[in-house]
């Protein structure tokens, strides 16, 4: 479908680089794509407001808006601990993409990009790319464990909940009682 007919030097095929066999799936770079049956603008607008994200993300305790570009993320860590960092939006293309990066003093340096691309008849392809760099030391190990608890699966589940909320207005749960739901979310 693209106009280029020959591959760039060093490029072996048309697959995303994140799916290369030489990128370890549980390491520092991952990408997940999902198709959501809603307009790109609506999905972008939801994602652009950090207050919306905590309920659909696993492990996230709170996301506090500091200003239009900055937000503070608090993540549940084992043994009742918390990890906090500030995140800064570095590129904002309305309706199309958001790129963010942790502030320089973050315990766990991380950056990411989410792109929204409309596809005729199917809604919008949402692609999230996440890169992070766990630090050394005891806390670093803790954080690494937290993030490396299958970060790809975590990201995929977060995107699934995003899709459920945007397409159906709710996040699917099998809980039979409110108590069960609370236990699941704890």
């Amino acid at each position: 479908m693209t106009s280029e007919t020959t591959l760039a030097p060093g490029q072996r095929d048309d697959a995303p680089v994140t799916t290369s066999k030489s990128v370890h799936s549980d390491r520092a770079l991952l990408a997940e794509a999902i198709t959501i049956n809603r307009p790109a603008q609506e999905l972008y607008a939801f994602w652009r407001d950090p207050a919306n994200l905590a309920p659909i993300m696993e492990n996230i305790q709170a996301i506090e808006k500091l200003d239009d570009r900055r937000s503070r993320w608090t993540v549940k860590a084992p043994a009742g601990r918390e990890v906090t960092w500030d995140s800064v939006i570095t590129e904002d293309v309305p309706g199309e993409a958001i790129t963010w990066q942790s502030a320089p003093d973050a315990d766990v340096a991380n950056s990411g990009r989410i792109e929204f691309r409309e596809v005729a008849g199917r809604g919008t392809v949402v692609r999230a790319t996440i890169a992070y760099d766990p630090p050394a030391g005891a806390l670093g190990q803790l954080i690494a464990k937290l993030f490396q608890r299958e970060p790809r699966i975590q990201t995929r589940r977060d995107l699934k909940r995003f899709k459920q909320l945007m397409e159906t207005g709710e996040v699917a749960t099998a809980a039979r009682t409110r108590k069960q739901l609370e236990e699941e979310q704890a």
Binding site: T35, N37, R122, G123, I153, R156, R157, D158, K160, R161, K163, Q164, E167, T168, G169, E170, V171, A172, T173, A174, A175, R176, T177, R178, K179, L181
Partner: protein
């Protein structure tokens, strides 16, 4: 409330558990008036389906009265509804194509990983059918929480008896879709393996879709007799060499379409089946697949294979060569129940389809464990068990 819970192989009990509550805006709570035990439940009972947990509430064929609604439910208290076994959102791409059992959103995100690993993409949620399909509590209970109640449940007229419409929840649409997937053309001969509820509804549906002849295969005389009542010719595979009989009965051509309504627990002393059974018991394989093998071999060249029967894992000795060389077409899948409910409700109201013939036993919910055992041990006479929470418990 009281509910039928799974505790392990051949161990189901009626326990007291917390009543369900409205959790999401589109939910409704249904007070169950009738629910049935399905052939698929026997796969759970026999321990063939992975990701079951002790205490899981079973049941995916049920109906009842709306007693509570979430703010986004379109149901009203007091309405009588039949609930499809597939939990589908109605708004994703697949629901838009009426492929309801492939819904992207009915299954909670955390439960979708297993389906992705096993099948490449996760399927919709199902009621009372393991955690791979969502871990939702089923309807063999006094009450049930129904998600997406604005899309799934169909409102039925108050004056229709429960028993006439209950099977809209699963087996009637399943038998119908099985016949539709057989892409029947006028003059066709259709062979159906298995005369359980699904096979029997497939027989009825095949005739309604214009099949000239239907040949039904089973080993239970009573079930074969029911198929014959609808006009099918019967083959008892214990008495008869099925393939030879089919070839002779179709003038050496083979049936134009074949329907496997047996599934992963095929009975019978066939060599391939016994090997499968040994492997299943040693955890080397999972599915016993004699019926689908035989169906593929018998099917005429260029014919159609429809497979409503449930398989969960991998199979050995699938006759891929025969399938390819003969140029067959296979259509299968969990039923897109919501798609078929309105049309089939009309067919019931207009008395074009008979459903109650199937029910052999009616019992109290409290007696459900006995119902499972009977359905499991005596399939000849026990064709369908309907459980009713307010049914007087039979005196012992």
């Amino acid at each position: 409330m009281r509910a039928l819970t799974w505790h392990g192989k051949h161990d189901v009990r009626v326990d007291t558990v917390d009543d369900p509550e409205i959790i999401n805006p589109r939910d409704a709570i249904i007070k169950i008036t009738a629910t049935a035990i399905c052939g698929s439940d026997l796969h759970l009972y026999d321990g063939y389906i992975p990701t079951m947990q002790a205490g899981d509430i079973l049941g995916h064929e049920f109906m009842g009265e709306v007693v509570e609604t979430g703010p986004k439910s379109t149901l009203r208290k007091g309405q009588k509804v039949v609930v499809p076994f597939t939990i589908s959102c109605g708004s994703c791409y697949h629901c838009g194509k009426h492929q309801y059992s492939a819904c992207d959103n009915g299954n909670p995100a955390d439960n979708q990983d297993i389906g992705r690993e096993l099948y490449g993409q996760p399927m919709s949620g199902l009621f009372g059918y393991s955690h791979m399909t969502g871990g939702y509590a089923g309807g063999q209970a006094e009450y049930v929480r129904v998600p997406f109640s604005d899309v799934g449940p169909i409102v039925v007229p108050d004056h229709i008896e429960d028993e006439k419409v209950l099977f809209l929840s699963d087996i009637l649409p399943t038998g119908w879709m099985a016949a539709e997937n057989a892409q029947i053309e006028p003059g066709d001969t259709v062979a159906v393996w298995g005369c359980g509820p699904v096979g029997l509804f497939a027989v009825q549906s095949a005739f309604l879709m214009g099949a000239e002849r239907v040949i039904a295969i089973d080993h239970f005389p009573h079930r074969l007799e029911l198929a014959r009542k609808f006009g099918a010719e019967a083959i008892n595979f214990e008495e008869t060499k099925t393939y030879e009989a089919l070839m002779e009965m179709t003038g050496g051509i083979g049936p134009d379409a074949v329907i496997d309504a047996v599934g992963l627990e095929a009975h019978g002393f066939f060599v391939d089946n016994v090997i499968d059974q040994i492997k299943a018991s040693m955890f080397l394989g999972t599915d016993r697949t004699h019926s689908i093998r035989q169906a593929i071999l018998a099917c005429r060249k260029g014919g159609r294979v429809s497979m409503p029967a449930v398989y969960g894992g991998f199979v050995d000795k699938f006759p891929l060569g025969a399938f390819m060389e003969k140029g067959l077409t296979l259509k299968t899948g969990q039923t897109h129940v919501q798609h078929y409910m309105p049309g089939l409700l009309n067919a019931i109201v207009e008395e074009k389809i008979d459903t109650t013939f199937l029910i052999s036993h009616r019992m109290a919910l409290e007696d459900a464990p006995k119902g499972y055992k009977m359905f499991h041990d005596n399939q000849n006479e026990v064709t369908k068990v309907v459980l009713k929470p307010d049914f007087a418990i039979a005196a012992e």
